[in-house]
């Protein structure tokens, strides 16, 4: 092998050293990864336009001109708008009673304050649009869409020098976005944290890579080691998108109780459940997810009903910092997250291990 196997077209596109993308909601993690030779995309879906603008400035002040990305959840569908009161009134008594049974059985404290469920429906389009305006105005180096197609904003982004990435869970979504001209596709498999499609990472990465031509493909879902990185490159990806890997790192701002649970967990401690939001998503098992799996349990409701039902449990557990009740989105690669390491070391370990794999397979030049 005559070339550095980790120097991919994604590295060329971004001007970064390693094809490792950190997806994180923590600015400190993002900056640490960027300054370690990787790339970071900060999830800002829940932030106001003003907060996003401030975060962009904060990152820019700390990365010495290096590129970074911002991820928004552009919606792909929207029901008619309605009020939370109208929705709440439609939740069946049987489901309310089941929720109360869980709260009582596990002595779940009520939230300290009423849960702030953000608006939805048509408002999510308006919010997405306002967030997007900030990214365009700020000429963010990479705009990533974590769900809906970003095709409509390609021209506006490219005119401002921004790259646009789209995250897909199906090959047909990738095909549509590639035809539109996105700059990279994040192919996310079933192993991932949070909500995923139903295709495994191995399958979707290989399928999308086979139709991508020169467009970089970034593999996502269950990737937490250098072996995963090497495997993803062998599948045709040009880099990896990693989320769970950074949750327990030293710079991460999530609750220490969750960090401790993450480093103690394996893939078997995660569950793909629709009991929290009504959408299926991969999370760490907790009493709430397990109770809804019982044969006697009612079938979880659709979003947003189920989120309203689960919100007191989730917020109450978090407010009281009850480790026996809390949960967090986690991918199946969590079993390799065994220490709370600095981000720089995680990048370095991943690179070293991936190079070791390639060296074992084909031999690397000295």
């Amino acid at each position: 092998m005559s070339q550095d196997p980790l120097h991919t077209k994604l590295c060329d596109q971004l001007g970064v050293e390693f094809p490792i993308v950190s997806f994180t909601h923590c600015k400190d993690v993002a900056v640490a990864v960027i300054n370690s030779g990787g790339f970071a995309v900060l999830g800002e879906a829940m932030h106001t336009p003003d907060e996003i603008e401030a975060d962009i400035k904060w990152i820019r002040e700390r990365v010495d001109g290096k590129p970074f990305g911002i991820d928004l959840v552009l919606p792909a569908s929207a029901p008619a708008e309605t009020s939370l009161d109208e929705i709440s009134a439609k939740i069946p008594d049987s489901h309310r009673e089941f929720e109360q049974m869980i709260m009582k059985k596990y002595d779940v404290p009520m939230p300290k304050e009423s849960v702030d469920l953000h608006q939805w429906g048509g408002l999510s389009q308006a919010l997405g649009r306002a967030q997007l305006e900030v990214l365009l105005e700020e000429r963010v180096p990479v705009i990533a869409s974590g769900l809906g197609s970003p095709a409509f904003l390609l021209d506006a982004a490219h005119e401002r020098g921004s790259l646009v990435w789209g995250l897909v869970g199906r090959t047909r979504q990738a095909k549509r976005q590639l035809e539109a001209g996105v700059d990279a596709i994040i192919a996310q498999g079933f192993d991932a944290a949070g909500h995923t499609g139903d295709m495994g990472t191995l399958s979707i990465v290989a399928e999308v890579a086979s139709i991508a031509g020169d467009t970089p493909i970034i593999a996502a879902g269950g990737i937490t080691t250098g072996r995963h990185l090497a495997a993803a490159l062998c599948l045709g990806a040009s880099g990896v998108w990693t989320g769970t890997l950074w949750l327990a790192c030293r710079e991460s701002d999530i609750d220490m109780i969750i960090k401790e649970r993450l480093v103690a967990s394996t893939a078997a401690d995660t569950v793909w459940s629709d009991s929290i939001s009504g959408f299926t998503m991969r999370v760490l098992k907790c009493p709430w997810t397990e109770e809804w799996k019982n044969p006697e349990a009612p079938r979880p409701l659709a979003s947003p009903y189920q989120m309203i039902l689960s919100s007191d449990y989730i917020q109450g557990a978090n407010d009281a910092r009850r480790g026996d009740l809390m949960t967090e989105a986690s991918g199946q690669g969590v079993g390799f997250v065994t220490e709370m390491l600095p981000a720089r070391q995680i990048v370095s370990d991943m690179v070293e291990e991936a190079l070791g794999v390639f060296d074992d397979l084909v031999g690397l030049p000295d």
């Binding site: 792909a76 702030d116 769900l147 409509f152 949070g194 959408f279």
Partner: protein, 78 residues
């Protein structure tokens, strides 16, 4: 109205932000396009209305859904 899409069967790879969280989540729909659409902002972000939903999330409370244009797949086209 987009008369060319009115009455066409389609699938929508939909979804959005999970309310009360920062997570994205997908929802799939199959139904019939009415042909109604609207454009949000500039550059235009186009949304089509779908009714007669034969596939929708369990206990989905509405009889229609708005689908983003690039997340729609016409059934007889695929």
């Amino acid at each position: 109205m987009d008369p060319e899409r009115a009455g066409r069967r389609a699938e929508c790879d939909g979804g959005g932000l999970v309310m009360g969280s920062h997570y994205a989540a997908r929802q799939e729909f199959t139904g019939t396009l009415t042909g109604e659409y609207y454009d949000e902002g500039d550059p235009p972000w186009r949304w089509y209305k779908m009714i007669d939903l034969t596939r929708k999330p369990n206990a989905y409370p509405f009889v229609s859904v708005w689908c983003e244009a690039d997340s729609l797949f016409l059934i007889d086209e695929d």
